[in-house]
Structure formats: C-alpha cells, structure tokens
Amino acid sequence: MPEPIIQTQGLDFYFKDFKALDQVSLNVPRGSIYGFLGPNGAGKTTTIRVLLDLFHPKRDQVRIFGKELLDHREEILGKIGALIENPSIYKHLSGRQNLEVVRKMVGGKKERVDEVLKIVRLVDNADKKAKNYSLGMCQRLGLAAALLTDPELLILDEPTNGLDPSGIIEMRELILRLNKEHGKTIFLSSHILSEIEKLATDVAIIDQGKILYEGKLEGLKNEGNNLQLKVELDQVDTATKVLEKQGFVISEAYHNGLLLSIKTRQEIAEINQLLVASGVQVYQLSSSQENLEAVFLNLTKKLDQ
C-alpha cells in the first residue's frame, strides 16, 4: 500500500481532564475523498485542528506527506489548503482583497487570485465587500483562499454547514471537480451521512474521540449485513427491558415501537416470543436490510449502552 497522505498514530488529545481524542489512528490515501464522519462533538474539529497544528499534537503522532508535522510545519502547511468551520473572512475587505491578504503571506503570482476566483465561480462578486456576501459565497471565498497555494491536500471542515440546498449542491460539485480534475486529495468532515455518501471514496467514523470504522465506503456498507427490525407494540419500556436483558441492541425507541438490529431471521421469532410472553401487545414486525444510516447510528450508539 502506498504511503498515506495523512497518517496519525495513537493520537490522544485532552482539554484539561477531558479526553477529546482517544487513540485516533487515521490513514488517508492519496487521491481520495476521505469522509470524516461523526455526530456533533465527536472530535472531528479537534482532529482537524490537530492536523493543522492549531492544537499542537505530540511529536510523531501526526505525519502528513510522509513527514512529521511539528518538524516540517511550514513545508507541510504550504501544501495544505484548509477551510475550518465558520468562515475566516475580513468583512471590511472585498473578496479579492481577502485573497490578497493571504497571497501576501504565502507569496505567489497575482494572477493566481483570478484563477482561484474562477475555480470557485466568484469572479463577478470579487470586488464586493465580503460583509455583503451570502454564507455560500463566504464558504466559496474560504475555499478560494485555501486554493491559493495550489495545495495537494484540502482539509475541509463541514464545508456545507449552513448552506441552502443549491449552495450544498454547488459545494459538492466543486469538491468533486477539485478531486477529479485537479487531482487533489480531500479530507472532508461532516455530521451529515448522505453528504459523505455522495462524495467520499473512503470514510472514517469517529464518536466520543474514538475511531469506530476506517476504510472504503463500500466496506462500511458491507458491515451492514445486519437486518433491521421494526416492532410496533404498546409497552415500549417493558419491551426495552425484556429485550436488553436478552442481549439485543436497541438502536432507537419510539413512542409506539422499537428499532433493533439483528443478525438472523431466527431472531425475529425469538423477539416475538419474548415480547408476547411478557404481556406486550405486538402489532407489527417488519425487517429490512440495514442502510448506511442505520450502520452509522448503530456504530455511534453502541457506545452509549
């Protein structure tokens, strides 16, 4: 296997006593769109900040482009473009002037500003003040700034957060184009599964600071060999107790039913018997192949139980 473009090993990170990252090991393949998925507060942004040395890791925990991050910080950052959470934009300057500030820091030709404006389709609004930009335009401007150095690797933290549907589609197309046409590796975090599903070639799932899955997107789908069983019944509390006692994992409880993940069809009969024997009225049992969303929910919820 060729060397990963980002590699973390046993990465721990603390906020005072709170362990925000717990032995995070990532291997991001070159050329991939790598989806970094997890619920809010799972440690996605913390991981990204560590990768960019905004939060300092310990030596030898993070390697990017095959080099130790702390020892080659400037060299590595020169080949990364980053867009982190809410836009970083000087509101009193125009879009073009914002890019000019960054260009002055990183060097490079003046024409590059026009090139990146073209890539993110912001040429027409380049000379408007950034305070009049819509959120979608702000995100695109942020992406343009990230592209100024023509980086090999883009690290994008929730790039579609807060965008309207057309903004989301536009951002998605842009990301795909940057990957396919410009050959950039893209590390993309999101808490929205469908977003990652549409873009990513590889995924990692993080929850409570731990990596629960890392690999191809297809591989994750295969994890979902499980069946999903939906039970409609009357006494949700009793049913939950009875089933959990028998070791079944309940993924969701509604006011009139439960959602469980099961391995075999045999278990459906078992569950039915258990429920009936404990006096619960069962109205309906329906099973289906687990979709990606269920896999995700199962992975991230197992920890709570």
């Binding site: 960019l52 905004l54 939060f55 980053a82 970083s88 509101k91 002055k104 990183v106």
Partner: protein, 259 residues
Amino acid sequence: MNSVTALKRGIGAELYKFRRTFILWFLVLAPAFIPFINLMIFVKKGHELVGPEDNPWERLVQLSIEPANFLFMFFVMIVALFVSSIEHNSNTWKLIYTQPISRLVVYTSKVVVFLLMLLFSLLLFSLFSVLVGLLLKVLMPDLGFDQAFGMSLFFQLAIKVFLATLGYASLQFWMSQHWKNLLLPLGIGIGGWISFLILVQGWKYAEYHPYGFPMLGLGNYKDPAYEWLGELKFIYRSVGLAAVVFVLAGLDMVRKRVV
C-alpha cells in the same frame, strides 16, 4: 524561505488588511487633535498665553506635549485593541495560523506593525505641532513665533514618549492579543493608569509603575540646559519591561490553542 522574507510577507499582509478601516483614519486624525486645539487657543487667546518677554514656542511645546503624554495612554490602548480585534472579529486567527509561515513570524509582524503605528502617529503629532507654530508665525506675527527655537525638541520629546510607553504598550498588546474581550484590556489599562496616579502621591516604588514611565520619564524639558538623552532610567525600565513582555507574549501566542 528565510525568516527575513517571511517577516516581510507577514508585515506586508498585516499592513494590507487595514485598508478601508477606521484605524488608518484614527492614526492620522488623532495626532491632529491637540495641534488643532492649540491653533484655536493661540488664535483666540495667544496674547494672554505669551508674555512680551517669552518665546511662544516654549509655550507651544508645553501645551502640546503635556496633554499628548496624557491622551497617548488611551491611544495606545485603542491601537492595541484594533490590531488584535481585526483577527478576533473576523475569526481569522485560524486563517493566518494555517498559512506556511511560522507562528513566531506572524506574531512578530503584528508587534512591528503595532509599534510602527504608535511611532508614526507620534511623529505625525510632532510635525503637526511644528506646523501650527509656523502657521501662527504667518497668521499672528505679533505673537513672536519668528523667534529662534530648536524645532527638533518636538521630535525628541515624541521619541522619548514612545520609548517610555513601550513598557505598558507591550502589556496592552499582550492582553489584546490573548483575550477576545475588548473591555478587559481597556479596563485593566485604565485601572493601571489610575493606580499610578494614586500611588505616585506617596508610595516610594511608584517610580517602577509601568503606566507612570511616560509621565516620569519626560524630564524637565523647560530647563534651557535640558538634554533629551540625559535622564534615561525610566526609558531603560520601559524598554526592558517591553522586551520581557513581548517575548512572553510571543511564547503565549506560539503555544496557544487556536480556536
């Protein structure tokens, strides 16, 4: 890329981002404030201020440098807030710290730009003050502004104020960089200054109070034998403190977790 190139880039970017901001106007207009008032005073009441034997330039120096020394304190606090809040308000710390420039260089660029702003405004203030005198020479010939006077005193005093200011300016700068909150550095700054005014009335260590260096360090410039580089102990204290604080603030910014 060597560090000189990096520093040049850092400073270039730093200066560029203040385009179209209020602070640029502030740096030019604030130094014009006292000279403008002085012009008004001399035009209206020049004859009451200057006796027949006096050199009006001496009066002008005094009316310029003393209020300036007082108001400059607030000016420093405001400029320190401006150069930091431009990043705090636009969430751009994470933008500038993910560029391929070391954090130390980014920090140093900010310090340099901050100090240049202070020095620029002080020298501009001296220039405006001299211009007021020259203007009065034309407008009010009978005031006696045609008498000989070493104009360089205006600039010498301004440089002395600048050096004596560095001590507390470094503290204001650090606080403004570290905290997003604007009121905290302002409150501590004003508190520091008022505490000096109280302590100086009786506490024997008041001469070590950083917010007092500019007042204590100016020296008796009214004395004809005054030498601007004569008494320098407050300048040394101020510059020494600034050196220590700027280094500590630099370490703080390099180690800081950037949110």
